[in-house]
Each structure stands twice: as structure tokens, then as C-alpha cells.
């Protein structure tokens, strides 16, 4: 008892002495509780029959009912499949591109060209998804879009790309690469900048050409960065750019375009099935959490440094 009293009084003295520090910290902590931790408490509706009138706490428990419903629903299983497929393709085609770009930039000898090219390729990262989607829609428009104008000129029929499920994946992946490859290359460029210049000098003395230097020095030197980035990407495999999907998909392309987050959005926010959608979101969050933790552990082993 006395210990507790002593302890509390010590804490009180500390807070009195350092109250300014806690005052400065308070807004951040309050914000995190109100906007991020209260929703975590609200996640319990995934196991409840949520009623708007009863609220989160008073709604009756239903156990795993929503999860049974989800795993029996074709739509949800399709969403899981599409998420994995889109992420997989994104990894396959989207991952190497920034590395290639960074290696390319590194070979540029004229600073002006290098700077100009970088300025251009970083730009799409800073453009809003709505604009990106707008650009995709107008470039692929069936009647006046430039892609179809080209196809017609070459003697093909024009294609209504955005209503055909088989075209959704290539368009989505392509747009992602177009938007992010340039910006992501910064990470690899930073790694290249850290390569010890004496390695190149001795290679030069040994008569190595540029291609050999890139292949034998630059690439192996940035391999740790590549591996870390790869692990991060695999850890985030459930994350797909769902904002772009919401803007580009339509019922006729759901078959290939509907992913977990768009499913949650439709069931929850458009159809007001909050509990079911929260269950889908919960499943997503837990799997993502495990994946990211695993990725972090692996990266710790591989590189001896934690990502965080």
C-alpha cells in the first residue's frame, strides 16, 4: 500500500516538474486514441449483430457468424482471389521497373537530362487518384481515346477497354507502374549513391566496361536494399490501390477488379451492412498484420536491421 502511495506521489512530482512535456504530448495521444484506437474497440461489431440504435457495446454477440457468411460467399472469395492476383502481378511487373529506372538514371552522364527525366517520372506520384483515373478514362475512351484512335488507324476494331473484365488487370497494373515506378526509384538511387566509388575506380583499372560495372558492382551493392523492398512489398501484399479501383471499376468488371477493400466499401458504406463488412476488414487487417510482422522478422534476420 505504502509502495503504491510512494510510487504515485513520485509520478505526480515528476508530472508537476515536467508538465509541459505531457501537455505537448497530449494532443498526439488523444488524437491516436480518439481516431485510431476507439475504432479498434469498434472492431468488435465483426462478432456482433450490429444495430445503429443500440450502438457498438449493446449490440448482441453472434460469434463467428459473419465470418461463416463471408467464407461461404462467392463474392468475398473472389475478392480475396483478385487481391492476390492484382498484388502478384504488381509485384512481378511493378517491382523490377524502379530498379531498372534507377540503374538507368545512374548511367546518365548529362546532369540536365537526368534531372529533367527525374522531374517528369516523379510527377505522377503527386497527382490525385481522381485525376489519374480521369486520365486513364480519357486515354482509353472507346470513341475518342488516343489508344483506340491508334488501334483504328492500324486497322483494328476499337475496344471498350474499361467495361471488359479481361482488360482491367493490365490497365490497373500499367497505371500503377506509370504512376509509382519513377518515385519508387528514389529509394534505389539513394542506395546507388551509397556505393563506394573506389570499387568503380579499381574496376576501371581492371578494364571493366559500363555494363560489367552495373552488373557486377552496382547491382550486387544495392542487393540488400532490393531485398528489404521486396520483403516490404510481400508484407503489404493485401494492399492494393483500392481508390483507383473504385474509380475505374464497374459491375461488368467486378469479376476481375473487385478486391477485399472495395468489397468492404460496397458492403459496408454503400449497402450499410456494417457488421459483415467490418468482419471482412478485420480478416484483412489480421492477415496483413501477420504478414507485416513476418516480413519484419525475416528482414531482421537477412539484414540484421529492423524495418522499424
Amino acid at each position: 500500500m505504502q509502495n503504491i502511495q510512494q510510487y504515485t506521489s513520485r509520478i505526480m512530482r515528476h508530472i508537476r516538474a515536467e508538465w509541459q512535456l505531457y501537455l505537448l504530448l497530449a494532443p498526439t495521444i488523444i488524437w491516436f486514441i480518439v481516431f485510431l484506437y476507439v475504432p479498434m474497440y469498434g472492431l468488435q461489431i465483426a462478432f456482433k449483430d450490429y444495430s445503429i440504435f443500440k450502438g457498438v457495446a449493446a449490440s448482441p454477440w453472434v460469434g463467428l457468424e459473419h465470418f461463416y457468411t463471408l467464407f461461404e460467399s462467392e463474392q468475398f472469395m473472389r475478392a480475396i482471389k483478385n487481391t492476390l492476383i492484382l498484388s502478384g502481378y504488381n509485384l512481378l511487373f511493378g517491382f523490377p521497373m524502379p530498379i531498372i529506372l534507377a540503374l538507368g538514371f545512374n548511367e546518365f552522364t548529362k546532369a540536365f537530362f537526368k534531372r529533367t527525366a527525374q522531374t517528369v517520372v516523379y510527377l505522377p506520384h503527386f497527382i490525385s487518384t481522381v485525376i489519374i483515373a480521369g486520365i486513364v478514362m480519357s486515354v482509353f475512351s472507346p470513341s475518342v481515346g488516343v489508344v483506340n484512335l491508334l488501334l483504328v488507324q492500324m486497322g483494328f476494331d476499337s475496344v471498350y477497354f474499361l467495361v471488359q473484365p479481361e482488360w482491367f488487370r493490365p490497365i490497373f497494373i500499367g497505371t500503377g507502374i506509370w504512376q509509382e515506378a519513377g518515385f519508387t526509384s528514389i529509394v534505389f538511387l539513394a542506395a546507388i549513391a551509397g556505393v563506394n566509388p573506389s570499387l568503380y575506380e579499381s574496376a576501371l583499372v581492371d578494364g571493366a566496361n559500363r555494363w560489367q560495372m552495373m552488373w557486377r558492382i552496382t547491382l550486387p551493392s544495392i542487393l540488400p536494399t532490393i531485398i528489404i523492398m521486396l520483403i516490404i512489398r510481400i508484407g503489404n501484399i493485401l494492399e492494393v490501390g483500392f481508390e483507383l479501383i473504385i474509380l475505374l471499376y464497374q459491375p461488368s468488371t467486378y469479376e476481375t477488379a473487385d478486391v477485399i477493400s472495395t468489397y468492404v466499401y460496397r458492403q459496408g458504406l454503400q449497402n450499410a451492412q456494417y457488421d459483415l463488412a467490418a468482419a471482412a476488414g478485420f480478416f484483412n487487417a489480421v492477415v496483413a498484420f501477420v504478414l507485416v510482422l513476418t516480413a519484419n522478422t525475416i528482414s531482421k534476420r537477412v539484414t540484421k536491421t529492423s524495418l522499424w
Partner: protein, 292 residues
């Protein structure tokens, strides 16, 4: 590296690289040029498939149409409110928070830091966040949008790491002069951290300017919509608008030119701050070597 040291094979290699990177660069640039060309072309030129790179029948009709819509100006004004109000509130929370989290004398520092970092790995998701905003009475309000997205773990950790890198001697010297925490933060930390704070400010501005999903979900009142949501509505609603369907021939503007004009109006402010972004985001990425 010295050009003289290049062999012929190296030159060939360099040219191949230039061509490859050049092609990627051009294909990044082209859609923007295309949109700009469409926005300055006549509706007829676009609908008859003449516009590919340069504007045809140059006209400002689409811009006239866009700029004469009071809803457009209203959306523009709202985006400014969300961007600057939101960025201001973000800095007001993030800077003091990052300072406190960087101080060794803070009790439970590991716990508070974990509490912030944990949200990067686990997130309650869309639905609980939405229901929480509704329970807080923050639906359909300027304040809800501004406060609800004011903070995130990444920015706090980024700035905290920067603050941790400031040598103790600075803090101690200020302490000797009798400065309290507010003064240390204001007179020592903030002036020393201008690049880091500039980076975070730009991250906030860009995120706010481009933010659309939650504005679309949380706002119902048309008067409160930001530019991005307005643009989305225009794209969705004008597609089968009578005005456009019936006037494809000889029209000065069309659905395509009007939406392109709005897109250009939305991109221009980002282009205006782009030089600053370029200056700071490289640093931001380096700073973002986020470590616990």
C-alpha cells in the same frame, strides 16, 4: 565520370540506356500533354478524333464552361480550406508530439512510441473508422475532415527521428539559460528542423490536396465537397448529360474537353509547388528511414 574513358561499347550501352529511360519518361509525360491538348481543343475536334498531341481549333470554351460554374469555385475554395486548415492542424499536433516523444525524460516513452507505431501495422479499417466519425458527429463537416486525418504515425516518427538527431548540447545550453520545454521547442528545435518540417508540411499539403476517398464518404452536402470529389461527380454525371449528348457536332466544348479542363485546373497548383516538393521530398525519403 570522365567521358574520355568511354570505349565504343560503353557509348552504345549509354545510348541504349538513354533511349530506354527516355521512352519511359516520354510515356509518363504524354498523358499530361494529351489532357492539356484536349482541354484547349474544340469539342468537335476531340469527338471527331483529331486530337492526339497538340490542341486542334484552339479555344478556351471548356475553361469558360468550367470557370463559370459556381460549384467549381466553391469546390476550389473548399479544397483550399481542407488543405491549409488540415496542414495547419497537422503541424500543430505533430510537431509538439514528436518533440515530446523524442525527449529521454518522458516517462513511458517506449509505451507512447509503441502506441504510435502500432497503428502502422494494425488498422481497424474503413467501417469502424466511419462509424466512429459518425458517433463523434463529424459526418458532413469541415472540421471532421480537417481533424479526422490530422495525424499519422509515419509523419510523427519521421520528425521524432529528426529531433532525436539534434545534439543534446543544444538542449542543455538552452536549459542553462532557463528555457522551458515550450521555449526549447520553439527557439531551438523548430529552427534547427526546417527541412524536416518543410518535408512534412509538403506531405500534408499534397495528401490534403489530393484526398478524395474519405471526403466522398463523409461529406453529403454539395457545398462542402472538395475539388477531387467535384471532379469525380462531373465525370460520373456529365457522361450522359443531354447538353453533351445532343451537341457533338460543331460543339465548342464536349464532355471530354470539360473534364480535361477541370483536371488541368486541379493539377496546376501541384505543379506550382512541385519545385519545393522536389527540393524536399528527396530529403524526406532519406529521413524516412523509419526506425524504432
Amino acid at each position: 565520370m570522365n567521358m574520355n574513358l568511354y570505349s565504343r561499347g560503353d557509348k552504345f550501352f549509354a545510348i541504349c540506356i538513354m533511349v530506354l529511360v527516355g521512352l519511359f519518361t516520354l510515356s509518363t509525360l504524354y498523358p499530361f500533354i494529351y489532357i492539356a491538348a484536349v482541354s484547349f481543343s474544340s469539342g468537335f475536334a476531340v469527338t471527331s478524333g483529331q486530337v492526339t498531341i497538340v490542341p486542334i481549333d484552339i479555344t478556351f470554351a471548356a475553361y469558360d464552361r468550367v470557370l463559370s460554374d459556381p460549384m467549381f469555385w466553391n469546390a476550389y475554395k473548399n479544397t483550399f480550406i481542407y488543405t491549409f486548415g488540415g496542414t495547419f492542424v497537422s503541424l500543430l499536433i505533430i510537431i509538439p508530439g514528436a518533440y515530446a516523444l523524442s525527449r529521454p525524460q518522458l516517462k513511458g516513452r517506449r509505451f507512447w512510441n509503441f502506441m504510435v507505431a502500432f497503428t502502422m501495422w494494425f488498422n481497424a479499417g474503413m467501417i469502424p473508422f466511419f462509424l466512429n466519425m459518425r458517433d463523434l458527429g463529424l459526418l458532413d463537416s469541415y472540421f471532421g475532415i480537417i481533424i479526422g486525418f490530422a495525424c499519422n504515425a509515419f509523419n510523427i516518427i519521421l520528425l521524432r527521428n529528426f529531433f532525436e538527431g539534434i545534439p543534446d548540447s543544444f538542449t542543455e545550453a538552452a536549459r542553462m539559460d532557463g528555457a522551458n520545454d515550450f521555449q526549447v521547442l520553439w527557439k531551438v528545435f523548430i529552427p534547427l528542423s526546417k527541412p524536416a518540417i518543410a518535408t512534412i508540411t509538403l506531405f500534408c499539403i499534397v495528401a490534403r490536396w489530393n484526398g478524395f476517398f474519405w471526403a466522398m464518404v463523409l461529406l453529403q452536402d454539395e457545398d462542402k465537397l472538395p475539388l477531387q470529389v467535384y471532379l469525380r461527380r462531373v465525370i460520373a454525371e456529365l457522361t450522359d448529360d443531354e447538353e453533351f449528348v445532343s451537341s457533338t457536332v460543331n460543339a465548342l466544348y464536349s464532355f471530354e474537353t470539360v473534364t480535361a479542363a477541370i483536371m488541368v485546373c486541379s493539377i496546376v497548383p501541384i505543379l506550382m509547388i512541385y519545385p519545393f516538393i522536389q527540393k524536399y521530398f528527396n530529403k524526406g525519403i532519406m529521413l524516412g528511414g523509419v526506425k524504432e
